[in-house]
């Protein structure tokens, strides 16, 4: 297990919290896309998220070594739309990579865009993400 903290920037008129939630939901959709999901499903997100205690920014807490299942019917449209800062060539590469692994798995670390800030636990702590541990 290699925990990674991925702070999410506000974009597309969404706050950091809103965009992080939307991206997290689309990561879950890699495994359970809308086409097979039921309206009654409670499970909607892949990873936990934490909020920076002073800035309010939200980070997705992922695991770079976790193998994410890719559903054969996966649709990347929503996920790609949430990543406007990612170069088109990189998006095209992601689409090809996912298409090649439909029905299989891919390490989460290989899904993280090059434009994303990645923090280790030590780095996240140094940047003040956990000052709210029990006093």
């Amino acid at each position: 297990m290699a925990t990674v903290y991925l702070p999410v920037e506000p974009q597309l008129g969404m706050t950091s919290a809103e965009r992080a939630e939307a991206i997290d939901a689309e990561v879950w959709a890699l495994r359970r896309p809308d086409s097979v999901r039921s309206p009654q499903d409670i499970t909607r997100y892949y990873y936990p998220r934490i909020t920076h205690p002073t800035t309010g920014q939200v980070a997705i807490v992922g695991d770079t070594e976790e193998n994410v299942r890719i559903h054969p019917d996966v649709d990347l449209t929503k996920l790609l739309a949430l990543l406007p800062e990612v170069p088109q060539a990189e998006k095209d590469g992601l689409v090809m990579f996912i298409d090649a692994n439909r029905g299989g798995t891919v390490p989460f670390g290989q899904l993280i865009p090059s434009t994303s800030t990645q923090l280790t636990e030590v780095e996240a702590e140094a940047e003040g993400w956990f000052p709210d541990e029990p006093l």
Binding site: D24, T43, D132
Partner: protein, 261 residues
């Protein structure tokens, strides 16, 4: 409660269904309803394709390729207030079956239990609680633990290795009972030691009124998995007003069902 089955990417993966009580408890014979599209199973045992348990062979109407692990995304409120507790993050969900073929639900002292391997607790929206009063049945490992957290920086009862005497945060004064006996609380470390690691009935109340908010239970407010109650959680009842006058009766009822002490 609601169950999500994990078939490791096979047929029926991540389908969900509500499961009903079977003679007052959750069992493999519990009927399922409100299931994902394509599910034809009618009992939890079929939904998970558990095989043969206790002399009963459960058929496999959904054609799963193996026995599914069962996770709990929702623990439904039985009070009539629709305060259902949810965990929508798949990696934080507790489980009630470990995916072993021919095995029963996970149990503690003979009753089904919600096991947390690395997962966390639940979130629930509650109205204003004048004097929160809570009874829980759980057992924990040697990790730190917290019971309820109503909002940022607050917790109702917390134990870890610290010598801090602050066992609650912005929650007033804690009064706690373990298996019907009042606990003497000095430090967080002593509190954690006194709680122990066996199944117990834990009743606690504080003096601080709380505003309506999203509460978490059996996990810390940041979802920090170090502060989960592990490994199992079997009962969780929250009142909005002090029930100290009814405490012995409440504890007698719960203990009568679980047979803890």
């Amino acid at each position: 409660m609601r169950v999500r089955r994990d078939t490791a990417g096979g047929t029926g993966d991540d389908d969900e269904a509500d499961i009903a009580f079977d003679s007052g408890v959750i069992s493999l014979d519990s009927a399922i309803s409100n299931a994902s599209a394509g599910v034809t199973a009618t009992t939890l045992g079929q939904f998970l394709n558990v095989g043969t348990v206790g002399g009963t062979t459960y058929t496999n109407p959904d054609s799963l390729t193996g026995t599914a692990i069962a996770y709990i995304p929702e623990w439904k409120d039985q009070s009539g207030n629709n305060a259902n507790a949810t965990q929508s993050v798949h990696s934080l969900q507790r489980r009630i079956h470990n995916g072993t073929t021919d095995a029963d639900l996970q149990q503690s002292n003979g009753q089904p239990t919600l096991f947390a391997s690395s997962g966390g607790g639940f979130e629930v929206s509650l109205p204003q609680l004048t004097t929160p009063f809570c009874s829980m049945v759980f057992d924990r490992n040697n990790n730190d633990f917290t019971t309820w957290t109503p909002r940022n920086s607050a917790w109702m009862a917390l134990g870890d290795s610290s010598t801090s005497t602050t066992v609650t945060s912005t929650m007033g004064t804690l009064t706690a009972y373990k298996n019907g006996s009042q606990m003497t609380i000095t430090t967080r470390a002593q509190f954690a030691t006194d709680i122990g690691s066996d199944q117990l009935l834990f009743t606690h109340t504080t003096t601080q009124a709380q505003q309506a908010s999203t509460w978490k239970f059996a996990t810390y407010y940041t979802n920090n998995t170090a502060f989960n109650i592990k490994p199992s959680l079997q009962e969780n009842i929250m009142w909005g007003t002090d029930q100290s006058d009814n405490r012995t009766g409440i504890e007698s009822d719960i203990n009568g069902f679980f047979g803890i002490y």
